[in-house]
Amino acid sequence: MAKPAAYRNRIEVLQGTLDLLLLQTLQWGPRHGYGITRAIQAGSGERLKVDTGSLYPALHRLERQRFIQAEWKTSENKQRVRVYRLTAKGKRQLLAARSWWDELTGAIGGVLSLQPERGEP
């Protein structure tokens, strides 16, 4: 599907990796939804974009799974915001997800770096 030029160098977050990114982002401390978006954008050099329509369902799902916890706080802006924090269960899940990611990228990297072999004709 053709995309507007402005979005071209932004990468839509892969399904399945979003959970990992969210947990990882929260490891650095509690954040609200917009804060998470910004952190991921900034951390990826503005290349990763998290769609709001994916962010909140994912956050609420992780909350239901008890990987993260939410509480209402007031921002510097005097705005009431819902702040998410990683739970102990979430930390374990993050470790598991990270090792899964390492394995996956390692495996994919291995396949991609494969040189064609020449066999007997």
Binding site: H32, G33, Y34, G35, R38, D51, T52, G53, Y56, P57, A58, H60, R61, R64, S75, N77, Q79, R80, V81, R82
Partner: protein
């Protein structure tokens, strides 16, 4: 939006909204800190956020149970919408409730009668056995029963039963109860265990051992105070002491409306000349024979076995009465089979009513949908998927359907007991009406199916007009509006067609009923009262005592002022039941009409004044006189049908008829009387003088000068005076008897008419609705035409003729439907063709008149459209 949520989720949704707002606010703040202008920041942040509604919706999905959530939302929303339109909602729910209620009520009866097993265990194997008799299973003579029981190889158990009246005396006031004589195995064969005590032992029959009785639960409660130590108690039955050995389980009153079950001895009618030992009696067929099939035996095998035995009996016993082929039928089928057809027709009738109700509610929804078109278009524009909108509209239908269903079940619960009258009286106490899970499930299924049927077209129309076009011109004469009107018109056409079919059906049934009521019964029922007495056997075992009793009672009756004529008869015409005797025509081998089937004529014993009292015409010979006594030559009077059957084209006078107890000479011929039903052609009927055949039961009939009601109390008193121990029961004028014999038909015709009237009212509402809507939609056009000088009369005529076109088309479709459905009804009609032109003409006229009335108001509205107002409102 949050208002649509169930309360427990409302808070959470509120929080979600706040969370998303917070997100936006934070984004705006950050952008402004980077130096963007307020407007820029706002716009960019919103763009980034995307559709906030959508974000919230997909987030809620992550909460789980999303579909249920939405259903709940839609339902709550639907309820609010319905509350906002109380008039519409009330009409729709009530319409559906009537339609669904009628269906549930009829289904309740159908379920209880045709589907649910009898309250007898394993009733598939319970059968009735007997000779083929007037299309059903006839009774058997005691000796034949004993042979069948001894020789069959197919039944696990057999029992013979015979209903009799029993006089119970407790204190001064005697009471007549329905008793049933049963062979001892009765309760075992039925598979019923008495709630107290026991059934009969095999040796509890015959002289000296037969004074035991099992009583019904109802009698135990009513007369014996439900006392637990009732066993062993003595009851005075027919002036003899009987020991209570058992109490039947609650609700068990089978057969008939039995209050008492007694061992056989009473069963012998003790007619003159009959063998004293019932086991030798092959002449009187008074036992109904019930049996339980052995496991693995089919009906066909049983029937073959029984036929062989019956043929053997007929061969061995040359004097025996005519016996046709043998039949083995399922007991339930025997009891309720005849009501199957009328019940199924009724089910069809109410299904049509429900369809009319559906069409009507659909039409209402469509009309209201005009107002909602904008709202739905707005929802679509805001991103609601089309499926979601259809779901929303369908949910409203579901809510309506379920509300209607719930109210309908209440209506059915109240109405179903009245419908038991569709079942033959003899089987009514076997019908247990209850709104059991099956019936409730049926109600739910009907409600849901109804909702889909009436909800689908509005839902489809709702999404047909789409996008911005609908936003602009919703509720005006847009394409969507036109398609809606087309739909509505189709619905009204269907409604009219269904209403026509129902009206025609009702009209035909009513006409049949009127036809039947005007049938000449062969006697004059006006001013005649009847009442019956049962002579208990031990006291009245001697013929002379019965004859003396009858003479004394009649003498007393004749002395009562106001009595013009009085007589007695063993069975009043058109009362339930029948009595018949086999007969051989002397000196002539009577040729059966069908192989194996002889005519068994109806038979009654009467006192001399009978024909005069009932106004039955004497065609030839003489009536009975006081001279036709027990010791005089045996005589008989035959009906015209009997004369025609036995001596076609010849005079029967002086001919001789041979009965099992002797030969009688024909002394008179009387006009035919309809004895079983006004619908049935008169069967051969034989009359004997009571003095020559004194049966132990009788009905007194008296023609009175003032109204029978004023004399009947005195008549009762003088009859009681002859023997204080005998209750006098069944006091009825013969006009009442005639009316009662028509009651099932009257009920059926009345019920169908009520349903047809309901359908007509609904159709009228439908026509009114569609015409009003058409006029409202065309207000502008009509306004312009009025401004251009169109005559109001012309506008009026236009609306009316449009309405009539719809009705006319519906009537044509209805006629076609009536043609297709004609066979369903024809068997229930009496001397009326299923296409009776008068009925159809009247129905059409009625329909057109109703349609005119329904069009009148909208047409007048069209005539009075003010051009200025009409144009300004646009």
């Amino acid at each position: 939006m949050s208002g649509r949520l169930p309360f427990f989720r409302r808070r959470r949704d509120e929080e979600l909204r706040e969370e998303v707002e917070g997100h936006l606010a934070e984004a705006v703040r950050e952008r402004r800190e980077r130096g963007e202008s307020a407007a820029e920041a706002e716009a960019a942040a919103r763009r980034e956020l995307g559709n906030a509604l959508l974000v919230r919706e997909v987030t809620r999905d992550a909460w789980g149970w999303a579909w249920l959530e939405e259903l709940g939302q839609d339902a709550a929303y639907a309820l609010r919408v319905l509350r906002r339109n109380p008039g519409f909602s009330a009409v729709a729910v009530l319409t559906l409730a009537l339609g669904i209620g009628a269906n549930v009520a009829i289904f309740d009866v159908v379920h209880a009668v045709l589907l649910r097993p009898l309250p007898l265990p394993d009733d598939e194997r319970l059968v009735i056995v007997g000779p083929e008799w007037r299309g059903g299973v006839g009774s058997v003579a005691p000796a034949d029963f004993l042979d069948l029981r001894a020789q069959n190889r197919v039944f696990a158990g057999m029992t013979a039963v015979c209903a009799i009246a029993v006089n119970l005396r407790e204190g001064e006031q005697p009471e007549r109860l329905q008793g049933v004589v049963v062979t001892p195995s009765f309760f075992d064969v039925m598979g019923v265990r008495p709630r107290l005590g026991r059934g009969f032992r095999p040796d509890e029959q015959g002289a000296g051992r037969d004074h035991v009785v099992v009583i019904s639960d109802a009698l135990w409660r009513a007369r014996l105070g439900a006392s637990p130590d009732v066993l062993g108690r003595r009851l005075l039955l027919n002036e003899e002491p009987y020991t209570v050995v058992g109490v039947a389980p609650p609700g068990f009153r089978f057969p008939e409306e039995a209050e008492l079950w007694l061992p056989p001895r009473f069963a012998v009618p003790h007619r003159v000349g009959e063998p004293k030992d019932p086991s030798q009696n092959r002449g009187s067929h008074y036992f109904d024979t019930y049996a339980r099939l052995k496991p693995g035996v089919s009906y066909r095998e049983a029937q073959a076995d029984v036929s062989v035995i019956m043929a053997r009996i007929a061969q061995a016993d040359h004097d025996a009465d005519a016996r046709g082929g043998a039949l083995v039928r399922n007991l339930r089928e025997h009891l309720v089979g005849e009501s199957r057809r009328s019940l199924l027709v009724m089910l069809g009738v109410v299904a049509l009513v429900l369809l009319v109700a559906c069409a009507n509610v659909a039409s209402l929804l469509l009309a209201r949908g005009a107002a909602r078109q904008r709202e739905l278009a707005l929802r679509t524009a805001l991103g609601a998927s089309r499926g979601r909108v259809v779901r929303l509209v369908l949910t409203e239908s579901l809510v309506l359907g379920l509300l209607g269903g719930a109210l309908g079940v209440a209506i059915a619960g109240a109405g179903a007991p009245l419908l038991v009258r569709l079942v033959p009286a003899s089987a009514q106490n076997l019908v247990r009406l209850q709104l059991d899970p099956v019936v409730l499930l049926f109600a739910l299924a009907v409600a849901l199916a109804t909702a889909v049927v009436f909800g689908l077209s509005p839902a489809l129309v709702a999404v047909a007009g789409r996008g911005s076009a609908a936003l602009h011109d919703a509720a005006r004469s847009s394409t969507a509006g036109r398609s809606r009107r087309g739909f509505q018109r189709a619905l009204v056409t269907a409604e009219t067609a269904l209403a026509l079919m129902l009206l025609a059906g009702a009209g035909l049934l009513v006409k049949s009923f009127v036809r039947m009521r005007s049938v000449d019964p062969g006697f004059r029922p006006a001013s005649v009262v009847s009442m019956s007495v049962n002579l208990p056997l031990p006291a009245y075992v001697e013929s002379a005592r019965r004859i003396a009793y009858a003479r004394d009672a009649l003498a007393g009756i004749e002395r009562v002022p106001g009595v013009a004529a009085a007589a007695l008869v063993t069975r009043v015409p058109l009362r339930p039941g029948s009595s018949s005797r086999g007969v051989t025509v002397e000196g002539r081998s009577y040729t059966p009409q069908q192989p194996g089937e002889k005519v068994i004529p109806n038979y009654v014993a009467v006192s001399p004044g009978y024909f005069r009292t009932l106004g039955i015409t004497l065609l030839a010979g003489r009536e009975f006189t006081a001279d036709d006594g027990a010791e005089r030559p045996q005589v008989v009077i035959v009906s015209a049908a009997a004369a025609e059957t036995f001596w076609p084209g010849e005079s029967p006078l002086g001919r001789r008829l041979s009965f099992s107890d002797g030969i009688r000479e024909v002394v008179g011929v009387v006009a035919d009387v309809r004895t079983t039903s006004l619908a049935q052609r008169p069967l051969p009927l034989l009359y004997a003088p009571y003095a020559q055949d004194p049966w132990p039961f009788m009905s007194f009939v008296a023609r009175t000068v003032p109204s029978p009601e004023s004399v009947s109390g005195e008549l009762r008193r003088v009859i009681r005076a002859v023997d204080k121990a005998l209750p006098v029961t069944g006091v009825r004028t013969l006009e009442q008897v005639v009316t009662e014999s028509l009651a099932p038909r009257q009920f059926q015709a009345g019920l169908t008419s009520a349903f047809a009237a309901l359908a007509l009212v609904l159709a009228m509402m439908g026509i009114y609705g569609v015409m009003s809507y058409a006029v409202a939609q065309r207000t502008r056009e009509i306004g312009i035409r009025a401004a251009l000088g169109a005559e109001p009369g012309r506008l009026f005529r236009e609306v009316v003729s449009e309405g009539l076109r719809v009705v006319g088309l519906g009537a044509l479709v209805g006629l076609a439907g009536a043609y297709v459905a004609r066979s369903a009804l024809s068997s229930m009609l009496f001397e009326v063709s299923p296409f009776d032109p008068v009925t159809f003409a009247l129905v059409l006229l009625l329909l057109v008149a109703v349609a005119l009335v329904a069009c009148l108001v909208p047409a007048r509205r069209a005539m009075r459209v003010d051009p200025v107002v009409a144009l300004r409102t646009e």
